[in-house]
Amino acid sequence: MCENHRQDRLDKPLHTELPEGHTLSRRDFMKVGIGALGALAVLELGGVSLMFLQSRSQEGEFGDTITAGPVDNFPAGSVTEFTDGRFFLLRAPDGGFLALHNRCPHLGCTVTWEPHLDRFLCPCHASTFDFYGNFDNPPVPRPLDAFSVRIQDGVVLVDTFELRRRENFAPEQLTYA
């Protein structure tokens, strides 16, 4: 049996002419099939790994809805820092609210509010931002990022799970009581 088999193989040339109408030999079919299944398996494993890693990005340490306090706690033109929430809550002179991320969009250092300059200041590369977070000069690429502000029953709530990048300050970004 075994001998026959070997004989068989030796007699046939390695790449036989395929009969008319056939385009794929059994061996090629197996090769392609196994290759395709293998590639599929790799893709699946890759996908599983990626999704496995993805899920953790939702358990951020900050990224809750933060209750800032009653609307009346914040006089017009004031800046209040919420360190744990990572934001400054501003109340514009016309009464609108804006929550700004306290990290510099350049390389991520924390900015401070300097009332006497009427500016936010980043110590790392000496950048400054005005009251609404617009930057004054490079290397900063964009204004301070913002969080969305909601007002429920006279209480200011700040959603810190999503940062909004802005081109520039625009009045629509303010939330009114």
């Binding site: 951020g60 350049h106 390389l107 991520g108 110590p123 590369h125 490079p138 940062l163």
Partner: protein
Amino acid sequence: MRSLPLRSWKERLLYTPQAEPETRSRIRAVTDSLILHVHPAKVPVSALRFTYTWALGGISATLALLLLVTGVLLMFRYEPTIERAYTSIQQLETQVVFGSLVRAIHHWSANLLVLTTFLHLLRVFLTGGYKKGRAVNWLIGIGLMLLVLLFNFTGYLLPWDQLAYWAITVSTSLISYVPVIGPTISRVALAGPEVGQGALSNFYALHVAVLPVMTTAALGYHFWRVRKDGGISRPEREEGRAERVTTMPHLVRRELAVAAAVIAAIVIWGMLQPAPLAELANPTRSPNPAKAAWFFVGLQELLLHMDTLAAMALIVLVLGGMVILPRWDRHEENIGIYFRSPAGRRSALLGALLSIDLVPLLVFADEAWIDLPAMFPAWPTLVSNGLIPLAGALIGLAAVYAIPRKVFKANHSEALVGLFSFLMASLVVLTIIGNIFRGPNMALVLPF
């Protein structure tokens, strides 16, 4: 007679049922054949010259081994959570017996490894060690250099002190400026909106599992390849008639001596100088100045002087040049000779001196007088602060290549030595300026 049980155990482990006198030679045979898997039986005398390799590859390998051993020890004590990481390091420093020493050895070996790997790369470049079929090992070497940097980078975060937290914050922000892939890499690395538990878990898994496996594989290949390529490079005129000596003891004894010296030096240094630990990470207050990890500070310095995209372009060009180097410099006749030739030596000196003079001058001038965006207010900053400095840098590099060609009558290979020396010296100078001469607000200061 009392040692008999012990000896019989040894014998069983080594499958040597023979009687006494042969045991020793058997053990010898086993270790010998192990060594001969890595080394050839005989090596040319010239390959043993200390002043050829400066043993830099061997020193790096020893450090890697030390890192492995101390790293495994640290894993038993370190806890990778943001609540416990810093405390577990503090306990290591104050309560665990030899904790401070083990951590110090790991810390200093890691930082030294960046240095020795870089110097080894320089040595291989300067002796043309990537020539004559050694291109693949040059590429593996570049991969190893990147792995060493990644190792240090991921390890940087683990103590969870202020230095760690803000260095990683600044570095990942830098990464997010890389066009197209940068933001994704940075987001995946952080697994969250800022450096936090997600980032710590990521960095820990990379540091203790993924990178060790990759590095071990790459190193194994690197060593095997050195042997496969016919041993390390040496001058062409020697080939064939080189005097050879047996690997054992001539090479092995030297390797052991270097390893012993490195281990002794690191342990003594570690006893004198514990690894630093700043105060607990505070995500609500960055220190001033906030710098990237020290080996990336040269890059951060570059970014102070030109637009991010321009700096990235420059880095990609230099890295690309290193990758294609084996095809770019095909003068194989000068392999194994430091600086290639007297003309190459002069080019190297010129390149290094130019860099040491020019780079600090330019940094200072840019700080004090040059304000490109203000000088060309009509143009977008991408042009005034990006294209202009990039073009300036490229013209400067072309000049560094052209001068030796013209003045020293250097050939292509020798002029490349000048260019490479200029680039590497500039990297060193920028790294020194950024680490030592930058104070609060990243302003230039004197360190003393």
